[in-house]
């Protein structure tokens, strides 16, 4: 299978005046084209750090990251990074928020604008194009943030607990929603989450990290014998509970 992302022996340490915090030790894994991988791990173990490294916001101390076979530095692959908070700008309308990435990358054209309108329409925000973020519900804001990422046509999506700011019910629907959107658009995605059931219902594979400094404890492929593999059907399947318990046990095995 074609690998879009490859990490080899990644180490990262934060340095501050108070001392150093090792965050990641010897992380190696890869992401295949069109694959959806979830990363779970205890709070503060280094999950966001891992995504920041892949997005190129920080550079690893040791190890290498390859994207589509090229080193991260030389890679021209578009990586979409959806942060934990939607970070929509209140001084812009939803439509102009969605255009932000295009503006920053000087890609505004009639075609990309049309694509923005189209995505807003498909994902139910057409009537809110002229609204400001504070007029939208949490789920709608999250969808707007996703569209802002998708309109750049990224090949790899990094999602950092994108649903954690939502209440439980919205989280289920928006999570399923966004999961479907990503599958429809055939993106390769890396999802960081606290929520095991979210991981099991959305991903093809779950990577379990140990506590800080994070190392990969185990990788669990998720295989469901379903006719229609949707998050909702997964939740109702018998395998769901088994996978949930397996990951839960793996996460808590040293406590």
């Amino acid at each position: 299978m074609e690998q879009v992302l490859e990490l080899k022996n990644i180490h990262y340490t934060y340095h501050t005046l108070d001392g150093e915090t090792p965050a990641l030790t010897d992380i190696s894994f890869s992401l295949n084209k069109g694959e959806f991988v979830a990363i779970v791990g205890p709070s503060g173990c280094g999950k966001s750090t891992l995504l920041s490294l892949i997005a190129g916001l920080i550079t690893p101390e040791r190890g290498l990251i390859k994207i589509n076979g090229k080193y991260l530095r030389e890679s021209t692959t578009n990586i979409g990074y959806m942060l934990q908070h939607d970070e929509l700008f209140e001084w812009r309308t939803i439509y102009h928020n969605v255009l932000l990435g295009l503006e920053v990358q000087h890609m505004l054209s009639a075609k990309t604008r049309a694509r923005a309108h189209e995505l807003l329409d498909i994902y139910g925000l057409k009537n809110f194009e002229k609204s400001h973020p504070s007029e939208l519900s949490g789920g709608m804001r999250q969808r707007a943030a996703l569209i802002r990422t998708l309109v750049l046509e990224p090949d790899i999506l990094l999602l950092d607990e994108p649903f954690s700011a939502l209440d439980y019910q919205t989280r289920l629907t928006v999570g399923d929603d966004i999961g479907q959107i990503i599958r429809q658009e055939e993106k390769s995605a890396l999802l960081v989450t606290h929520d095991l059931s979210e991981a099991v219902s959305l991903a093809d594979r779950v990577i379990i990290l140990s506590g800080r400094p994070a190392a990969i404890r185990q990788t669990i492929p998720l295989i469901f014998s379903l006719e229609q593999d949707t998050p909702l059907n997964r939740r109702n399947s018998p395998e769901f509970k088994n996978y949930f318990n397996l990951i839960w046990k793996e996460l808590n095995c040293d406590e």
């Binding site: 997005a55 916001l57 920053v104 750049l152």
Partner: protein, 232 residues
């Protein structure tokens, strides 16, 4: 569109009342301020030689209107205030942007800005005359000196309160630091820049008038000194 519900009409009425209260209160505050000024000058709470009083100004104003010289004085002061105001805004936005770009620079300059800002600028006006001569430039510099350091500090302080997540967003979109400035920091700080301008136009006027007290042949500051000498 023209069909308003009862609630909407009530709301509009409420808004109208609100506006009326705001307007009346504004006028009221102006008059009570003038009254207090006049009163305290008459009673002697404040030195009318330096502070003058509304009645003295009004009397002199009328005299000046009749011989038309007032318009020259107002024009001169207005001109000097606007020039120093525009310079203050331009320089302080530029300086705050530089400080924001370089954390090192801002840390190095921070104590100097704090000290410069807390200097009694009006007391330095005579020094300015010695340095720059008794001309229009001195007065403009005096106007700027009152506002500029505080303006830089408050703008910079506002710049660095931007949510770091929003700046991180720009970087995740492969943006540069310059784009973080233009797309996030400046729009975020626009309200602060505007309120800063409101404060600064007043401060510049104060500075210009202080300058005119000492170094001018015309302008409102000169006029105040002149009239208090004539009437006191």
């Amino acid at each position: 569109m023209n069909e308003f519900s009862k609630e909407q009409l009530n709301f509009l009425k409420g808004q109208k009342k609100h506006r009326r209260i705001v307007n009346i209160s504004r006028v009221l505050i102006l008059f009570s301020f003038l009254f207090l000024w006049e009163f305290s000058a008459n009673v002697g709470w404040i030195d009318s030689f330096i502070f003058s009083s509304p009645s003295k100004i009004a009397l002199c104003f009328w005299e000046m209107v009749t011989d038309r010289s007032i318009f020259l004085h107002i024009g001169v002061t207005l001109y000097e205030t606007i020039i120093s105001f525009i310079l203050v805004i331009l320089i302080s936005v530029l300086a705050a942007v530089c400080l924001w770009f370089s954390k090192k620079l801002s840390e190095i300059l921070d104590p100097y800005l704090v000290v410069l800002n807390s200097l009694p600028k009006s007391a330095l006006a005579p020094l300015l005359i010695v340095w720059l001569g008794a001309n229009r430039m001195t007065i403009i510099v005096a106007g700027m000196s009152v506002a500029i350091f505080g303006s830089i500090l408050s703008l910079y302080t506002n710049f660095i309160t931007v949510d770091p997540g929003k700046i991180k967003l720009i970087y995740t979109l492969q943006g540069s630091r310059l784009q973080a400035l233009t797309k996030v920091v400046l729009p975020h700080s626009l309200p602060a820049i505007i309120s800063n301008m409101k404060v600064n136009i007043g401060l510049c006027l104060v500075g210009v008038i202080i300058g005119e007290f000492l170094a001018a042949r015309n302008g409102l500051g000169y006029l105040i000194i002149y009239s208090s000498q004539v009437f006191s």
